[in-house]
Symmetry: C2
Subunit: 358 residues, 2 copies
Amino acid sequence: MASFCALIMAGGGGTRLWPLSRRARPKQGLTLVGERTMFEHAVDRIAPVFQPAETFVVTGADQVQQLLLQAPELPAKNFILEPVGRGTAPAIGLGAIHLRRRDPQAVMAVLTADHFIRDVAQFRQALMAAARVAADGHLVTLGIAPAFPSTGYGYIKQGERIGQTDGFTVFRVERFTEKPSPETAYRMVESGRYNWNSGMFIWRVERILEEIARQMPELYDQLMQIEAVLGTPAYEPTLRRIWPEVTPQAIDYGVMEGAEDVVVIPVDIGWSDVGNWSSMWDVLPADPDGNLVVGDHVGIDTHNTIVFGGRRLVATIGLKDMVIVDNDDAVLICPLEREQEVRDLVQRLTEMGRTDVL
Amino acid sequence: MASFCALIMAGGGGTRLWPLSRRARPKQGLTLVGERTMFEHAVDRIAPVFQPAETFVVTGADQVQQLLLQAPELPAKNFILEPVGRGTAPAIGLGAIHLRRRDPQAVMAVLTADHFIRDVAQFRQALMAAARVAADGHLVTLGIAPAFPSTGYGYIKQGERIGQTDGFTVFRVERFTEKPSPETAYRMVESGRYNWNSGMFIWRVERILEEIARQMPELYDQLMQIEAVLGTPAYEPTLRRIWPEVTPQAIDYGVMEGAEDVVVIPVDIGWSDVGNWSSMWDVLPADPDGNLVVGDHVGIDTHNTIVFGGRRLVATIGLKDMVIVDNDDAVLICPLEREQEVRDLVQRLTEMGRTDVL
């Protein structure tokens, strides 16, 4: 069998979990669950599948140092640096040329650094099954069995059932859809034919580069210029010259929607992208009052409220459906139904020049 | 004219302003307004009326050190210590025997250490007028012109108008009433015949001791035992022996309601007892969104909310009629209409043994 490598996408920024996440401390560096960071969890859970030498990380120069400290077991040369972030399509392409040099026949798993997975054993089984499917040339997506009609995720529609591998069923992908309205989300989940798009993909390195060549020829050309100097002193200056000119694009829009032979393997692994405070409900258990509490909290008549505390006591009276995030230098208080406005708040802080809390 | 002395009642505990106020840091030690503590304001505003030698403070042994530091201009011997708190009637009686020893003819003003007064010039005028009325033997209360139908204050009903002094009108007191229901409060304020009971009294030392002797003979007997050894080495052991046996009682219930010749001088001095977070509206100006903000706050769609911040940014989205108090070791979030439950919260923390935040 061809070699199997992991490419962990760890370039994310994002401030939807402000004031916990910051520019200099993106979500993958947060200890949202237990004592380990999201990135550490991402590395830990694949360790039984991939040797350290088979585990690669794409990230930015501004983040690589803390990631190196968090995963000292990985070879430093396996951290592939982007001079600037250009979205997932270029990042995956850059990873792919590195992996092709190591083994042109390699199968690669594109994984995320800042998502939560509850059932890691099942996740690893799914990865192994997907690798076998991918070795045949399919572009495999891991589709998540939807737990509720989420309007925050993209969906993948199952087409023809094409097989069964190690207990997993494989479907052709009929189409990718963007984040739906509540009504559409409800219908999609009811139909039983849709899965959440987890952003995790498994494919042969050659196949994804072939699709990039076909659908994103400009990016492919740029990648080829870089690949030509891989392993030489010209690599870094070439990358630094070319990368800022790369057009930002997500892999879903740039490649997947128009790709040939895309399949989905539905998995039920307790996955969440932990993309906002509400999604902490997917990740941590609630107390008898329905509150999700991390840290020191004393509440009177407080229900269905997220308290993500820091070093101090958070005391609440008569709250319902709120989120409170207490950090060393900032505390956020917001109704859960308005948490999408955390972005606006961060925007306002940016306009105010409040770099002290960004 | 007889000498005129001030007795500042500074023994208060109280945790209604938790988490700002604590057992070891009662309200009088807080900097709620400006840079000075409530006690410093209380001393400052009477300085033009009373010499330091004429200004006395009744407090507890656990608080005297910080009060001495806050008012270094006052003679240390003017701090009269209670071994344990026994309510205002015993505290005033203890102060009175100290003042009688200094001048048996003295008029004393019983003042509070933790209340807010906006119009201090008018307050001082009122004190001088009240002293003249008190010199004639009346027990004078300063009645506050009610700014709204408060259910949090006691009221004094005006009886017969008996005179005019320096622009202030003097009424006999018809009766004292406890904190009323909203309907009763509304009717009382509408009638124009009621004032808030400020807890500030002006009287001749002899007169209040005479009333204590008549209405609280046991306390009077205890005070006489202490007065007998005043200025001798036996004073402190005698006080320590007797004081724990003193029955706790408030001056209103123990003396004023049954006293003879009680008068009220209505004053309009911008007074507030700052007894809960809502009363901060009486003390500090609101911003254009109707918020009362102390410290660093950034809000989106936040209205009629009190943010009493500490050293960190308080960020709020979509809040209305809330109080947020951010302190070094605790943060409180509570709807304004439920702030009376801060007591319950403090009670629960007490039961939990959370002395770290009490």
